[in-house]
Each structure stands twice: as C-alpha cells, then as structure tokens.
C-alpha cells in the first residue's frame, strides 16, 4: 500500500457567515485577505513537507479557480516549492485541468520541469476540472471532453516523440512541438486520473495503451466500491489484470486517540468542509455540455436530488464520505474496504475545511505512526486488484 497526503489548501480564514449558498466563481474576493493567505500558504506547505518527513509516499495538490475551497489555481507553483523541500515523497499534482489552457504545452513544460528538479518524483495528474472552472475561466464546457483528450495526446506526444513535430488537432494546432526540458522519468511520469466515476473516463483511462492509475475522489464508499470494481472489470475486458497500483481512493480522514475524541475534534471542521467550502448551486457545478445529455440527467438525479440539505459528521461517517476514529477503527475499516475495492493507493485528506494546524499535525502523526504500518502489507504490486465477478 502506498500512502499519500492530499492537501486542498482551503482559505480557512474565510468569514464562514459570509458563505450562504456559494463559495465558488463569484464569491467575492474581498473575502480573501492576503496577509492571512500568506500565513496559510506557508502553514500548508509546512504540513505537506512534514508528511514527507513522516514517511508518506507522496504529497498531493490540485487545481481550483476563484474559490475559498482551495488556494491552488496554479498547482505547479506549489509543486515547485515542494520540489526542493521534500526528500522522498512523490509530488502529485491531481491534477492540472487540461482543457482550461489555450496551449497544453505549458503543462507539459511545468510537469517536465518538476520531474527534472526532483529527479523523477512527479506524478502527473490530468483532469478536466469541475464544472465551476468552466464558468470561471470561460472555457466552453461543451468542448471539455474533446479538449481533454486532445490536450492529453499532445502532452504525451510532447514527452515521448522526438521534436520538433507539428500537431494538428481540432482545438490545438502547433507548428513546432519540441518541449524542453524532456521529462526525467522514462517514458514519462506516471499519469493519474482523478475521477468521480464517469463511465467514459474509465473506458479511456483503463485502455491498454494507457493503464493509468484511476483515483476515485470524495464519494460514498458504496459508489467507490462500485466504480473501482467496474474499473477492474474493464481492465479484464481489455484482456489484462488490474494491479492495486492502478487503483486509488481519495477521502478526508481524521484519526485521534479514541473514536469519541476523533469525532469531537473533527466535527465542526469536516462539516464546514462539506457545508461551506464545497457548496454552490447545481448550475455552477454542472454547466450545460460538461457531460453528455444522458450523464447529465443521471448526475442530477443521483447526486443533487438525492443529497439532503446539511451533511452532519454522523451521516458523513455513515456513508463513508469521511473516515474518522481511533487508529484501530480507521485501520480496520480501510482493511475491509481494501479487500472489497482492491486499491493500492490511499490518498488521504488529513486537513479539511477549518481544521487547524495543531490538529492537522496530530492527525498526520497518528495516521503515519498508527494506521500506515497496519496497512502497509496490503495491495502489493503483483496481485490482482480484486477478483472480477
């Protein structure tokens, strides 16, 4: 099992009362105080660096725009900062939102630079970006999927084909693709695909030409199990066996001395995460054309109509959106889920919402010292992820 610490870098100094029904796109930036931001960036980087010292296999950042949810519109800036202050941990950008750029070669360049500086510690995450980004960046959501695929092809070619060569896509047309520097890792850094279970993404990421690591993010365990199993089955349909290293699960997690203490310490902070930092109206999250007509209808029905108003820590623990408890509780739950889901990568969000530095530090320490050793032996490289039904 590989363990990763995923930081979302929320602007936790925000005035929570100012957030009524939305924290995205148009939530006014007067609510951002750069002096607080300065402190938070440095605190969060300290936490990521500390995870490296504690023996996490990787540290993760990601990309969101115009929101208090996360202060990482340009995650490669943070990856750059981490490159020189971490020793062993992989640096995972989960990921850059490919369709949002007008020239994806900038991403090929950023990633290759980080990979060179760290001597091959980069994990390259590719995402489409959530719906909100398409409002914020004015990129046509109807082009999101085809831009994603084309940008991906361009980046991989830029990393693997001898330049200069021309690239003639629908969205990107370049005369001289000749990326300097080339990536350190051969043939290129490992690619991870964070997703919330779209069938199209699974089909694409599991294809034998790619075999990318599929990372299921922030979903109830029932759907995580379903999607990771579907992914393994898809690999089997393609004629190969999915290894645990090809599967990952990302979730918020809090560990304390006992279950009761954990719930008490994490409660308000995880509730802030789900009920303040994450909220926006449906049409912000799901701009028209971001998914196919059919997927759109399914998502509206399953995610938005099904979801109740306030998510309490109780319901979050119950449906597995939040792992919380003593090291023993969390380790045994994760062991059980591992046997059902077959993942070899655990991507834990050990800071969330307003969780302060001291509790984050304690969480990192307890997780690394009390949980990780209990699970290390699971999900070894050679085994089959999970027997397909």
């Amino acid at each position: 099992m590989k363990f990763f610490f995923f930081h979302l870098m929320p602007y936790s100094a925000v005035d929570l009362d100012a957030i009524t029904d939305n924290t995205w796109i148009v939530f006014p930036n007067k609510h951002y105080d750069p002096k607080e931001g300065h402190k938070l960036y440095n605190r969060y980087l300290d936490e990521l660096e500390y995870a490296d010292q504690l023996g996490f296999d990787g540290v993760c950042v990601n990309e969101h725009h115009q929101t208090a949810y996360g202060m990482m519109p340009q995650p490669s800036v943070l990856a750059g900062a981490l490159s020189r202050r971490t020793e062993n941990a992989k640096i995972c950008v989960l990921g850059r939102a490919l369709p949002l750029t007008s020239n994806p070669l900038t991403i090929a360049e950023e990633y290759a630079m980080i990979d060179n500086i760290t001597g091959g510690r980069l994990i390259a995450g590719f995402v489409r970006g959530i719906g909100c980004e398409y409002h914020a960046m004015m990129v046509n959501p109807g082009e999101s999927l085809s831009r994603f695929h084309e940008a991906h092809d361009l980046i991989i070619e830029a990393w693997t084909k001898e330049g200069p060569f021309p690239f003639d896509g629908k969205h990107y047309r370049l005369q001289y693709v000749n990326t300097w520097p080339r990536p350190y890792q051969e043939p290129h850094p490992p690619v991870w695909i964070p997703s919330q279970g779209s069938a199209e993404t699974m089909l694409w990421a599991s294809h034998p030409d790619r075999k990318y690591t599929y990372l299921l993010t922030f979903s109830p365990t029932e759907s995580v199990t379903k999607h990771l199993n579907t992914y393994s089955q898809q690999c089997e349909k393609y004629g190969y066996q999915c290894t645990p290293s090809q599967l990952g699960w990302a979730f918020p997690c809090y560990v304390a001395e006992t279950d009761e203490i954990a719930k008490k310490e994490a409660g308000q902070h995880i509730e802030n995460f789900f009920n303040k930092f994450l909220i926006s109206p449906m049409q912000y999250k799901l701009p028209p054309g971001y998914s196919s007509l059919n997927s759109y209808k399914i998502v509206v029905e399953s995610k938005f109509k099904a979801r109740g108003s306030y998510l309490s820590i109780g319901s979050l623990i119950e449906n597995g959106m939040f792992m919380c408890g003593s090291p023993q509780t969390v380790a045994s739950q994760l062991e059980e889920y591992q046997s059902k889901m077959g993942f070899g990568n655990l991507v834990t969000m050990l800071q969330f919402g307003t969780l302060p530095h001291d509790l984050t530090k304690k969480n990192l320490e307890l997780f690394s010292k009390e949980v990780m050793p209990k699970l290390r032996h699971l999900g070894n490289e050679t085994g089959v992820a999970v027997a397909a039904e």
Partner: protein, 262 residues
C-alpha cells in the same frame, strides 16, 4: 398549441423540423436559445398575412444535432443552404435573442434574399461596461421568473411541470445554446464592424426590462450600428416582446413590412 403539422426538411443530410403556415411573402422566424416554443400566437397572427416559416435550428427541438455544429456561424451558413434549397426570396427576416444574432449574421453575409430585418431582444453585440445577464448562472426556475415581466406569469412558468420529452428538449436546447454562445458570451466581437452592410429596412424591438441584454444600451447599440433602423422599446416588457407585447410586436412587423413591399 394548435398550428401547422411539423414537417422535416433535410438540408445536406441535416434534418430540421419546420412549422409553416400562411401564404404570400415568406417570413422567416429564427428562435432564440430557449428553442421554438411551438406555434405561438404571434406566429398564428403573422400567418394571416405571410407565409410564415419557423424552423427549429440544428441542435434544437426535434431537429438533428449535426457533428459540424461548433459555432453560431455554422448555423448562419446552414440557413444559407436552407433558403437556397427552399428557393425563398424577398423574405422578411425576424430573429429573437440568439436568433436575432443569427439573423444579423445572415444579413451581413448578403441581404439579397431579404426584404426586411427585425431583431428582437437580440444577442450578438457586447456593450462594454454594461454586463449582460448570465442565463447559464441561473437555475431553470430563476430563468423562467426573470425572462418575463409579469410576476404571476413568471411564477407560473417557474413551476410548470414539463413532460419527460419537453424536459429532454429543454435540456438539449440549453446544451446547444451553451455550445454556441458560451465564449465569447452571446456575441461575436466582429459583428458590430460588419453591421453597416445591412441596408434593408430594419426594425429593432426590445423590452425595457430585458434581464439579459439591458435596455436602452443594447438596443441603442444595434440602432446606431444599422443606419436608418427603427427602434421600438416596450415598457413593462422583459425578454420576449412577441409574447409579452403581442399587439405592439405585430404592429411593429406590419409597419416595417408594409413600408418595404417591392
């Protein structure tokens, strides 16, 4: 809603649904981002005097969604072929909202087939310093409420239960209009410099309370760009004069078309 039976017309492999009724001089109505709302009273009224042709654009209503549909200009070129195939000339062209933008794109390509142009609450231009309303940031209910001036009617529309087929069509219309109008938002930066090419009689009709393209700035921009055009602003009217101000709208069409008979 009563009216003519819908007919499918195939243009270069793309089938579109057309409502057509009346005789005499052809009048082409190009609908907006919300799609053609059936055979509305204003179409019925106009069909007593004109050969009214109201298609659902490619990507809207029950028309095909072709692979080639990427930009609003693709629709404009489609209608060049459509009009050529139907052999229509001396047309009175009317466009509402996104369809107003489309009608202007057609007219700047050449006004040979058109007698008059009427743009109603039209997209297409951006007035710097006067933000548009952003329909993509509104929920379906908010949109229904804002688009009509009469509060009670807005409330009725916001609470209207659509049949599954109507809901699918509404979603399809939103998807296509978003694809065509997302960025630049509901306008073509190059259109304004081309509008001087429109030298046929032109009528601009607008609600004073348009929530998307605010009056008077947006209608004034059209009025200034098309020399000799006539501007009619309607009080107590939001985005759809053709339904909210039916009589004034019909009077406007009669006025511009009567002055122009060849």
């Amino acid at each position: 809603m009563a009216g003519p039976a819908p007919k499918k017309i195939n243009v270069n492999g793309c089938e579109v649904e057309v409502l057509r009724q009346g005789s005499g001089v052809p009048l082409l109505f190009l609908h907006g981002a919300g799609g053609l709302q059936g055979w509305a009273p204003f179409l019925e009224k106009l069909s007593t005097k004109f050969d009214v042709i109201a298609p659902s654009h490619p990507g809207f209503g029950r028309s095909d969604t072709p692979e080639w549909l990427d930009h609003l200009s693709d629709l404009a070129f489609f209608y060049c072929d459509f009009l050529e195939q139907l052999g229509l000339t001396d047309i009175h062209l009317i466009g509402h909202s996104m369809g107003g933008w489309l009608s202007a794109e057609l007219a700047v390509m050449g006004t040979g087939r058109f007698q008059t142009l009427t743009v109603v609450s039209a997209a297409g231009l951006r007035v710097v310093g006067v933000p548009m309303g952003d329909i993509f940031m509104w929920s379906a209910e908010e949109r229904a409420r804002k688009m009509v001036f009469d509060k009670a009617e807005g409330e009725r529309r916001a609470n209207e239960k659509l049949s599954p087929e109507e809901a699918d069509i509404a979603l399809k219309n939103t998807f296509t209009s978003s694809k065509l109008c997302w960025s630049p938002r509901f306008h073509n930066p190059a259109l304004e410099k081309r509008l001087h090419r429109i030298r046929i009689p032109t009528m601009i009709m607008w609600g004073e309370h348009d929530p998307v393209f605010p009056a008077p700035e947006y209608p004034n921009a059209w009025h200034t760009a098309i020399k000799g055009s006539e501007l009619r602003l309607f009080p107590n009217c939001a985005h759809s004069p053709q339904s909210e101000k039916l009589d004034d709208f019909i009077a406007g069409i009669y006025s511009i078309t009567e002055g122009s008979e060849r």
